[in-house]
């Protein structure tokens, strides 16, 4: 078999020749892309889990006073809310992130004992809690991590609760959470009579009406009946709430810094490569290679660095997410789910970073005078 040289093969050989530098650059890109995949994946899985939290319980809409984190909505609003014709069920809720032990924290939800949202949970052992009593339901993952079972005591912020049931939930947020009576969490948080929101399940949409139009109409009706109150479709509340927004902002900010470091690594590698290969570029020019072909060669090398680094980075990031999804400290808000779109996005960013970083060295290499380049030591 005769050794056949292709353009891509030529580019690869140039990278392979400087294995150590190529490996270090790939490591830098992999870390940057790994940070992007894990951090942005973390924030998106957080958003995804909020959506699952609503959808698993059949919640169509959330009714709140102003913002997601605001807990100033009066509990009595529920009385009028339940009389609105489109509303089938309304469940008052409150939540907080609390330390259960120095190592383990979890989201603590407060629901009314007859909340329809509890119907979505699978009770594995014990029973539901009763209003007015210091009782809690523990998610199975959390119960296992804390070695708790039905009948055990659990101290939360100085108050002792009895574990009356262990359940399995439909989303990572309630699969690793504590659920207690609404009044108990209000008391624990000094928010007597206040709730964060009412989760609303609407009556079925009339035949022939689209779900979107029905949601819009329900939103209008609820807001008209309760002046100053906002009704937000579940999907919108899952993606546009401040917690998710904050997670997105932190993830993108950190990832951008990591990517900038990765790009600098590629710039350095490609600049050094062009400098060291000045004479070789002169040879290629002497052999009739056009400037754009030299530019394409160097950019191909930079693009390959981005591509291979991106693939490694995706593996690193996904691995990190898997670890986060089982760690007791983070399991309550992270799942190992990464959307294919996010992976493609990471790969695209990585390749684009390679090309951007390689642009200046490539331009310089492409515009070297053949004679000057051949003279270069």
């Amino acid at each position: 078999m005769v050794s056949q040289l292709s353009f891509a093969g030529f580019a690869w050989k140039n990278l392979w020749r400087r294995r150590l530098r190529t490996a270090l650059t790939l490591g830098g890109i992999a870390m940057a892309i790994g940070a992007f995949v894990s951090l942005v994946g973390f924030s998106r899985s957080f958003e995804h889990e909020w959506m699952r939290l609503y959808s698993s319980a059949g919640t169509d809409m959330a009714v709140s006073e102003t913002s997601f984190l605001n807990t100033s909505l009066d509990e009595s609003v529920g009385v009028k809310l339940r009389t609105i014709p489109v509303v089938d069920r309304a469940s008052a809720m409150i939540f907080n992130l609390m330390d259960l032990t120095p190592e383990i924290n979890a989201i603590v939800f407060g629901f009314e004992a007859d909340s329809y949202e509890l119907d979505a949970l699978t009770l594995l052992s014990g029973r539901r809690f009763q209003t007015g009593k210091p009782e809690v339901l523990l998610a199975d993952v959390l119960a296992k991590n804390m070695s708790k079972k039905v009948g055990d005591a659990l101290e939360i912020q100085g108050t002792t609760f009895t574990v009356v049931g262990v359940y399995h939930g439909g989303s990572a947020l309630d699969a690793d959470a504590v659920i207690m009576p609404l009044d108990q969490l209000q008391k624990l948080s000094n928010l007597q009579g206040k709730v964060a929101a009412f989760h609303v399940r609407l009556k079925p949409a009339p035949a022939g009406e689209s779900q979107e139009a029905y949601l819009k109409q329900a939103q209008t009706e609820i807001e008209a009946a309760l002046p100053g109150i906002h009704a937000t479709p579940a999907a919108e509340r899952a993606s546009n709430n401040q917690l998710v927004g904050l997670a997105h902002a932190v993830a993108w900010g950190t990832s951008t810094i990591a990517m900038m470091v990765g790009i600098l690594g590629i710039v350095n590698t490609m600049a050094m490569s062009v400098f060291e290969r000045t004479r070789e570029i002169g040879i290629l020019r002497a052999l009739g290679w056009k400037s754009w072909r030299i530019l394409l060669l160097i950019q191909t090398e930079a693009g390959v660095l981005g591509l291979v680094g991106g693939v490694f980075g995706i593996c690193v990031g996904w691995g990190a997410l898997r670890v986060l999804s089982v760690l007791p400290q983070t399991a309550s808000v992270v799942s190992a789910y990464v959307s294919p779109l996010h992976l493609l996005e990471a790969l695209g960013i990585s390749i684009l970073s390679g090309l951007v970083a390689g642009a200046v060295p490539a331009w310089r290499g492409a515009h070297l005078s053949p004679v000057e380049a051949l003279r270069h030591d």
Binding site: Q4, F10, R279, L287, G288, W289, K290
Partner: protein
């Protein structure tokens, strides 16, 4: 009468903002299929002349015409170097990451045939150079004479009409020098190419039907 393949008119080339004048008004005509040697002392301007004939550089003033068309204006230099010229250098200038067979394929990348056709042509050229047993060796695994033979095969890759050799035997012993010159002359006669050889060795210079000397940037009468 044979028309000129390369024609040089009042060619001047200076460096360092005019402080160094490498060529001072050179006129030269080279016909197709001619074998010409150029000699001169170091710094006389002979390599500069070869670079300008090969489209590696542009003159400060004057013209280099290829088949009556001016290089750099009427003829694109990259295209000219790729299709019409084969360079052979004293220092061989092979790419160290590629084996002999791959080095010969480099000029053809993007120009000639597909991967297989390019590889087959490279193999045929190396066989012609007597290197059939060295196809997969890297430059650092080849002797100086073998490297220069790979460089000649590479220069022939795109079937050029002109071969320009800048002191092709400068790094070789006498046995290899004689062999390389024999090869170049054989190729020139077989393919009817124009061959211009820069040399400071008198024996080689006189082997050509036409020999010119350059001194201080001018062709001596």
């Amino acid at each position: 009468m044979t028309s000129p393949q390369l024609e040089v008119r009042k060619l001047c080339k200076s460096y360092d903002e005019g402080r160094i004048e490498a060529l001072r008004g050179v006129d030269l005509t080279i016909t197709a299929g001619e074998f010409l040697t150029i000699s001169g002392a170091s710094g006389s301007g002979k390599s500069t002349l070869l670079q300008l004939l090969g489209g590696l550089d542009i003159p400060t003033s004057g013209d280099v015409l290829f088949q009556n068309a001016s290089l750099g204006s009427a003829v694109d230099l990259d295209t000219y170097r790729a299709n019409e010229v084969g360079f052979i250098f004293q220092a061989f200038y092979l790419l160290p990451t590629l084996c002999a067979l791959e080095n010969v394929q480099v000029p053809m990348l993007g120009l000639t045939g597909n991967k297989r056709q390019r590889a087959e042509r490279a193999e045929a050229l190396l066989v012609e150079m007597g290197l059939e047993h060295r196809l997969r060796q890297y430059p650092n695994e080849l002797s100086a004479g073998e490297r220069q033979r790979v460089a000649i095969a590479r220069a022939l890759a795109n079937n050029p009409s002109i071969l320009l050799a800048d002191e092709p035997t400068g790094n070789l012993d006498s046995v290899n020098s004689a062999r390389i010159m024999e090869m170049l002359i054989g190729i020139q006669q077989k393919h009817g190419m124009t061959l211009v050889v820069i040399t400071h060795e008198l024996d080689i210079a006189k082997a050509a039907p036409r020999h010119i000397r350059i001194r201080d940037g001018r062709i001596e009468a």
